[in-house]
């Protein structure tokens, strides 16, 4: 397939169209939105489903195969918050605290982007490795903690003191991120999947696997509505952040694909790892940042994650990373 055909196929996939419908819903000022409980239910379902399937497939993987990909994932978790911080500081000219806040988002990962990338490579006939969800859990939290540490350190240097209050908050945040919804469901699902194995998975597969793609359509409709509600903030955040919200995923995505390929992942797996690195968290990171770096402007990080980087990855980024992975694979 040519790059154009790939883009077109992606654009006409149900999930991308559902996302666009969500944006249009906001543009025409419709009052439609998914009930809050449906939105949370779907996100719980999607995370648990990824975990379960990942666990079942993990039970069929060997340590050797996973070791290198896991290692480069952790490397990505340590590098991307730092690169994000410096790019936001130098290119974006953001203040220290705002740059750290943004770095916490770009150093973590968006589960929906992960899912979309998996669906995409599957559609391209290059299904990713079954242990990718394991990598997802590895990438979620390190980036947040590193970026928050940068922020706290930079602030302390200006204030020349770390209050004991700060320490209390920090351990609370550490706990909160590690026991957050996505960690519990992903890790919990992985463990359940691993323990029960493929046979016991069979009877629950109709809900957790056959129903997955349809549920995703509903979820992306709401994601579109949520992103659409942020579109009006694009003016507030200005062109620099919008540009960096596209540049950063390209850089991180390319790095992810490259390291993925290098660690032995297939074209599909490298694409998904690239998409993970490229993505910005908008579930785990925001509350942690809000509590730890309250001076940071939430409009910056929420708009960049939700209204710039997520749509970019969904529509353009993932196919791009795929092309790059194919090219690397020769």
């Amino acid at each position: 397939m040519t790059a154009f055909e790939i883009l077109r196929t992606n654009l006409l996939s149900p999930i991308v169209l559902a996302f666009l419908l969500g944006i249009v819903t906001k543009l025409v000022k419709s009052e439609l939105s998914l009930p809050k409980d449906l939105y949370s239910s779907l996100s719980i379902y999607l995370l648990l489903a990824i975990g379960l399937k990942g666990g079942v497939e993990l039970s069929e993987s060997t340590f050797q195969v996973i070791a290198w990909p896991a290692f480069v994932t952790i490397v990505l978790g340590c590098v991307t918050p730092i690169s994000a911080y410096f790019i936001m500081r130098k290119l974006g000219r953001f203040g220290k605290i705002d740059a750290a806040a943004l770095a916490a988002h770009y150093g973590s990962v968006s589960a929906v982007t992960f899912i979309a990338a998996n669906q995409f490579v599957e559609q391209m006939g290059k299904t990713a490795e079954g242990f990718m969800p394991t990598l997802l859990t590895l990438l979620e939290s390190p980036g947040i903690h590193i970026a928050l540490a940068i922020g706290a350190f930079k602030r302390a240097k200006s204030n020349s003191l770390i209050s004991s209050d700060d320490k209390k908050t920090k351990s609370a945040i550490f706990h909160e991120v590690l026991t957050g919804r996505s960690m519990i469901l992903l890790v919990g699902g992985l463990v359940i999947g691993l323990l029960m194995g493929a046979k016991a998975y069979e009877p629950i597969k109709p809900v957790f696997e056959t129903g997955f793609k349809g549920a995703l359509v509903l979820f992306l409709l709401e994601m579109g509505i949520v992103a659409g509600a942020r579109l009006s903030d694009l003016k507030k955040v200005g062109l620099p952040l919008i540009s960096l919200g596209i540049l950063l995923p390209i850089l991180h995505g390319a790095l992810g694909v490259f390291l993925g390929h290098w660690s032995g992942l297939s074209v599909g797996g490298a694409t998904v790892l690239g998409a993970m690195a490229a993505s910005a968290s908008y579930i785990a990171a925001p509350p942690a940042v809000r509590m730890t770096l309250p001076e940071a402007n939430p409009t910056y990080y929420l708009t960049a994650s939700l209204a710039v980087t997520f749509p970019f990855n969904l529509v353009v980024g993932i196919p791009l990373f795929f092309k790059f992975a194919e090219w690397l694979a020769g």
């Binding site: 809050k36 908008y282 925001p286 509590m291 309250p294 939430p298 409009t299 929420l302």
Partner: protein, 102 residues
Amino acid sequence: MKLINFKLVTIICEPVLSSSILTISQDLGATGFTVTEVRGQGNGEKSSGEIPDLKSKIEIVLEPQLALKIMNALAEQFFKNYSLITYSSDISILRPEKFERV
């Protein structure tokens, strides 16, 4: 029973603040709380979260002398960086002993 003058302190805030606020109010002597999920807008710019309008409304029944103390503590810690308002009103309760810490 006899009615006793008490205070009701109300806080409307970003959901992310609720648990800190409840801890502070408990530390200062409140014996309980009631939380309602609400939707709100003000003139603040700092609002956050995936659903920007979602707020928590916290209500606390208190001895009069505690009311201002808690409000001031919240003002000091949160007014600068967070989206919240707080106000107090006069109420009449029964059983004042129920709202006193042992």
